[in-house]
């Protein structure tokens, strides 16, 4: 199984305000009654984009200036809460292919990497700088450079970002979905099973 390496992603961006944006907010549970991930894109951030009467809210995601954004910019603890992979799946299907945040919740981070969506961490000051640049000019092109661990904007910002080594390795080598490697170690798995007394 040969997967594409992901050395970088480039696109327009949108800043989503708020700390601790949880996976219930990213994809409300009532939209998770499904047996596939198809169609989840239209429900991403549903209760943030629409009020209880179904009317569009004043939120950056509804701002036509950011309608072509494929990079999401956020604050601390992005993706906290439930382990639901439906969250990064709905973001991917909505049109996002990269996230820049101050910090990420662990399970969300792992799920996103497995879906080849690079998630990188920037300092609070740099998040503000990116946000300001994008708000001043929504056509600002952002590049998340996984190889160099930098985020660059067409406006001239060049920011250092971080991500766990294993996630970076996985994206650069095209092994962001580990299934083949896990399968390849079948003999070692059987040996471990034989060793463990409760298995």
């Amino acid at each position: 199984m040969a997967l594409e390496p992901v050395p970088s992603v480039t696109g327009l961006a949108v800043f989503i305000p708020g700390a601790d944006i949880d996976t219930d907010r990213i994809i409300p549970a009532r939209f998770m009654k499904c047996v596939t991930f198809d169609g989840l894109g239209e429900f991403a951030f549903y209760d943030v984009r629409f009020d209880e009467h179904g009317v569009k809210t004043k939120h950056p995601l509804n701002d036509p200036r950011f309608s072509k954004a494929s990079i999401l910019v956020a604050g601390v603890n992005f993706g906290c809460g439930s382990s639901r992979e439906h969250a990064p799946q709905s973001l991917r299907k909505y049109g996002f292919n990269g996230v820049i945040a101050e910090s990420f919740a662990e399970i969300f981070y792992g799920n996103s990497t497995t879906l080849a969506m690079p998630c990188v961490m920037a300092s609070p000051e740099d998040i503000v700088a990116i946000r300001d640049a994008v708000e001043a000019d929504p056509e600002t092109e952002i590049t998340i450079d996984v190889k160099a661990l930098r985020v660059r904007t067409s406006g001239g910002l060049d920011i250092a970002v971080t991500m766990p080594d294993s996630a970076r390795e996985a994206l650069l080598s095209g092994r962001w979905d580990p299934i083949q490697e896990l399968l390849d170690n079948d003999a070692a798995i059987d040996a471990k099973a034989a060793e463990l007394q409760y298995v």
């Binding site: 549970a29 998770m32 603890n77 439930s82 382990s83 799920n111 609070p124 580990p178 070692a188 409760y198």
Partner: protein, 474 residues
């Protein structure tokens, strides 16, 4: 230098290292439910693979099952998910505790009561509250759907090793302070993201004295503090709880028990961080906002953004207050509630219902409040029935339901309507969590939920139920 339980169990289950540096970890026990498994089984079928260890895979239905008229979900999407699980369990030879089995329930209640959850094991499930099973000295954590596929296909996962933070709670808890208050307090102190990259080891006098069910309540909410897993070292209570349970190998129980106890952290174990909390400092705690770390004591006032330390904190408090429609700087006591919910994988076990039943006789749910009591499993429900608990709840105006996740996350008919405010024994108070995009959640212990239901507003259970020193637990 000695090892922590985390290190012992991690090392014992390490199969190898994969190219990106992550560990390939053997997952001894795989628990599945109807929400995060259909796509994973679909992926398995696409890859033309079988479940590698069907005998280590156990399924139940909990999130979407209704708590009344359980056999006939009105929702066709829910029915489809239940059918998918039935078909996948049959096709792949996986044990399925379905509604007809008498063993169905919330997956994190079913694992322990069946004796499937055991010390020194690794346990994974497509649900972040899998951390619950850590109460038994297991390394148990939530995973995403693609990872569910990995476990089904290989019985392993690619994972980063965690650091370990030991959280000691020593001294004595005051009357009316429960395990739920302990974990809400820990999350308040360490923050919703404090545990990222860590496993939490809960230790000290309080945990030594807690029952297994109380330990489960605490471990359950580890993820709310950012910690993917949390555990309590196994001891004689762990052994006694598991003795004779269905999935425990009883052929040489003394040897098994000795092996289980050997997984406990060594006295000279290395920890990456140690936090010490004085039990006497903990009071009954409720959340006021939209994050599980927004905890305050029942006697405290709702935070005031004007007194925030940073601009970010100020904005955060303002956002929460606006959503919760609460007034800054006012007491949390006396906030009117519309709905009360006792249940969930946090507090849906027999000891939770016994404790509430102790206090509510002679009281009645306030007019206008809908109060639901949902047992965590069919077995818990039967136990409650044998002890006459449903009658006590009904006499006091509570609705007694069938087992399931119910109103914790509203993927089933139990949902808030509009901006109803719910006093809840569950684990998350995020915006819209309980099914309405404007619904509001206040987290607390089951006894505090009962007090709120009876009072019609957030109340101090110690006052409502005239608790004295005998109300001390642990």
């Amino acid at each position: 230098m000695g090892k922590s339980l985390f290190q012992k169990v991690w090392d014992a289950h390490t199969v190898g290292t994969i190219a990106d540096g992550r560990t390939q970890l053997f997952i001894g026990t795989h628990l599945i439910h109807e929400v995060t498994s259909p796509q994973a089984f679909g992926m398995l079928r696409d890859l033309r693979l079988k479940v590698k260890f069907p005998q280590r895979t156990f399924a139940t239905v909990d999130h979407i099952v209704p708590t009344i008229n359980q056999d006939a979900p009105q929702d066709p999407l829910a029915a489809e998910m239940m059918q998918a699980l039935r078909k996948n369990a049959d096709d792949f030879g996986v044990t399925y505790f379905d509604l007809a089995s008498g063993k169905q329930g919330i997956v994190h209640v079913v694992g322990p009561e069946q004796g499937i959850t055991q010390p020194g094991t690794t346990i994974a499930c497509g649900d972040s509250h899998t951390a619950t099973h850590g109460a038994f000295g297991a390394i148990a954590f939530g995973i995403g759907t693609t990872q569910v596929r990995d476990v089904l296909a290989t019985q392993t996962l690619a994972l980063e090793e965690l650091k370990v933070r030991r959280i000691e709670v020593n001294g004595d808890l005051a009357p009316g302070v429960y395990a739920k208050d302990v974990i809400l307090h820990i999350i308040r102190k360490l923050g919703a993201k404090g545990g990222i990259g860590y496993a939490y080891e809960y230790a000290g006098d309080i945990f030594d004295r807690m029952s297994m069910e109380e330990r489960m309540t605490v471990c359950n909410m580890s993820i709310e503090g950012g910690a993917r897993c949390g555990y309590v070292n196994p001891d004689t209570k762990t052994v006694a709880y598991l003795n004779g349970r269905p999935y425990v190998d009883m052929s040489d129980f003394n040897a098994t028990a000795a092996r289980w106890l050997s997984f406990a952290s060594d006295a000279d174990a290395h920890f990456d961080d140690i936090v010490r909390i004085n039990a006497a400092d903990i009071e009954p705690t409720v959340t006021w906002g939209i994050s599980p770390d927004h905890g305050i004591f029942i006697s405290e006032n709702i935070p005031d953004p004007a007194k925030a330390n940073t601009a970010l904190e100020k904005a955060s408090i303002e956002e929460a207050l606006a959503y919760m429609k609460l007034e800054a700087g006012t007491p949390i006591k006396g906030v009117k509630i519309n709905v009360a919910f006792i249940g969930s994988c946090t507090n849906g076990r027999i000891s939770d219902f016994r404790e509430v039943a102790k206090y509510i006789q002679g009281h009645h749910v306030a007019p206008g409040v809908q109060a639901l009591v949902v047992p965590g499993s069919q077995i818990v429900a039967i136990q409650c029935e044998q002890e006459g608990l449903p009658e006590i709840f009904r006499a006091a105006g509570f609705e007694w339901r069938g087992a399931g996740c119910s109103m914790c996350l509203a993927m089933n008919p139990d949902k808030l309507v509009g901006d109803q405010l719910c006093a809840s024994s569950s684990n998350r108070n995020f915006k819209g969590r309980q099914g309405s995009s404007t619904g509001r959640t206040i987290l607390m212990s089951p006894v505090m939920v009962a007090a709120a239901a009876i009072n019609g507003s957030i109340a101090d259970a110690r006052e409502i139920f005239h608790m004295d020193a005998t109300a001390t637990i642990a």
